[in-house]
Symmetry: C2
Amino acid sequence: MTAILISEVGPRDGLQSIDRIMPIEAKKAWIAAEAAAGVREIEVGSFVPASLLPQMADTAALVAFAGTIPGLSVAVLVPNLKGAELAIRAGARKLSIPFSMSETHSLKNVRKDHAAMVAEIGAIAARVAQEEDPPHFEVGLSTAFGCTIEGHVPEDTVIRLAEASIAAGAAEVGLSDTTGYADPAQVRRLVRKVKAAVGDARLNSLHLHNTRGLGLANALAGLEEGITTLDASLGGLGGCPFAPGASGNIVTEDLAFMLAAMGYETGIDLDALMRVRAILADALPGEPLYGFTPDAGLPLGLDRRTA
Amino acid sequence: MTAILISEVGPRDGLQSIDRIMPIEAKKAWIAAEAAAGVREIEVGSFVPASLLPQMADTAALVAFAGTIPGLSVAVLVPNLKGAELAIRAGARKLSIPFSMSETHSLKNVRKDHAAMVAEIGAIAARVAQEEDPPHFEVGLSTAFGCTIEGHVPEDTVIRLAEASIAAGAAEVGLSDTTGYADPAQVRRLVRKVKAAVGDARLNSLHLHNTRGLGLANALAGLEEGITTLDASLGGLGGCPFAPGASGNIVTEDLAFMLAAMGYETGIDLDALMRVRAILADALPGEPLYGFTPDAGLPLGLDRRTA
């Protein structure tokens, strides 16, 4: 069985997209319960200024908490060198910086053009390398499949900036469908091209949104091209507040069901995973939660089907 | 570009699953508008007794109406020889009989075991062959991916009954995920095995439900195994009233978007297709309509992406 890592990004991508602030005790309960259900990596927050995203103000405390859970990879988003410094001090083991392939979106989102972003990536890589036990540093190539402002994003741009990110010292790049524009043929093509450009081991992850319902089809296309890490958000909570209309990550529960049914090894106990939703429902009353599998329930005889 | 046929089954599978009866004028407007949007095949109804499904009582009139639309393939469901007789008299050009791979479900649904169903298929094939210009006769292998009563359905059963259906005179078999149990690996495997057993040209279609959110991923797996016809329901209306929990066909709008984005040729004008939803919303006020693409809108620059 091939092992696939589901990286839960709900505490970061999900919570940053809603106005309410989830109390830290609820966040801890969520992280602990998902880890106990077998989820091996959780992006617990983002080191952005609390003035911009007050929902993420407790990220350092969450990194410390999650770091006490055995076997859990603790990931965070960092927007720049300053965020990376905070993440390293907090003890995060995986740092991801979003790098928008749409220069218009990049300027609007972080006020940096592509050249400035590559310089920032270089500075973070250098800072990470100073650590005795350096955390993993990854660049998330966001709006890689299209942008709500620019529309089409040329594949050559993505390939060039993926190469520049690795050259600047990132350990890995990931492809992000920030806007929910991707289709399975495009996912296959771009994964193949970027892997060919930067090396097979330098692209392992996809961050997909389900904006147009194609999220799991796109995940499937990625799996078939050798992707081994898929971001997802419990209950489909999420989206990027700076990309209008970019609603909802793919749903962790549906993804975990699909992978289990297909015979992939994720380490996740599906029934335990479904029960984690109650923590979200309690902590965020009235907040819409998505997912088809939680509504329908698991198929009768699921284990036999994969045998 | 590969041509893919989207077969709209909403007027049959969608409408039979809701209690309200859509007035025939609204059904005609729906069928006409979808055909005008480029949909090339529509399953307009079912020849079951009106006492069982009053929603389908006007099927003969709809066949006559749809038959006047140039280039439209007019399909109907027939539960048995009697239904086939009615369908032939009405002038339907494509007849599908559902054949449940779960014998328990078959007995519950149509009170026939597998042997009786194969005999019925043989009788229909013989009747169809009497026609000077015989309609196309297909067997839909339902609950092929699992059953809400029996759970696991052995693949060998599906293969054996697919072979029996063809031997009994059906022109073609299709695979139906009546219960929303299918996963992409299973779709690939079963499509490959059934094609190998009955001949490549004898299995071309999949009927998928989105019960657990995997509908489009399953469609993708089918496409990659040579499937060229995909059933779908506008607004995701639908489900089988005799298979508890078997909610919702895959959504025509999302499927049509996925295929267009991937560069498949469907003949469908996406904007015109989206507008057909208004007919459903007007005729069935308050009825839930599904679909991500209609909510999110088409991506900016879609045409350029597929160029």
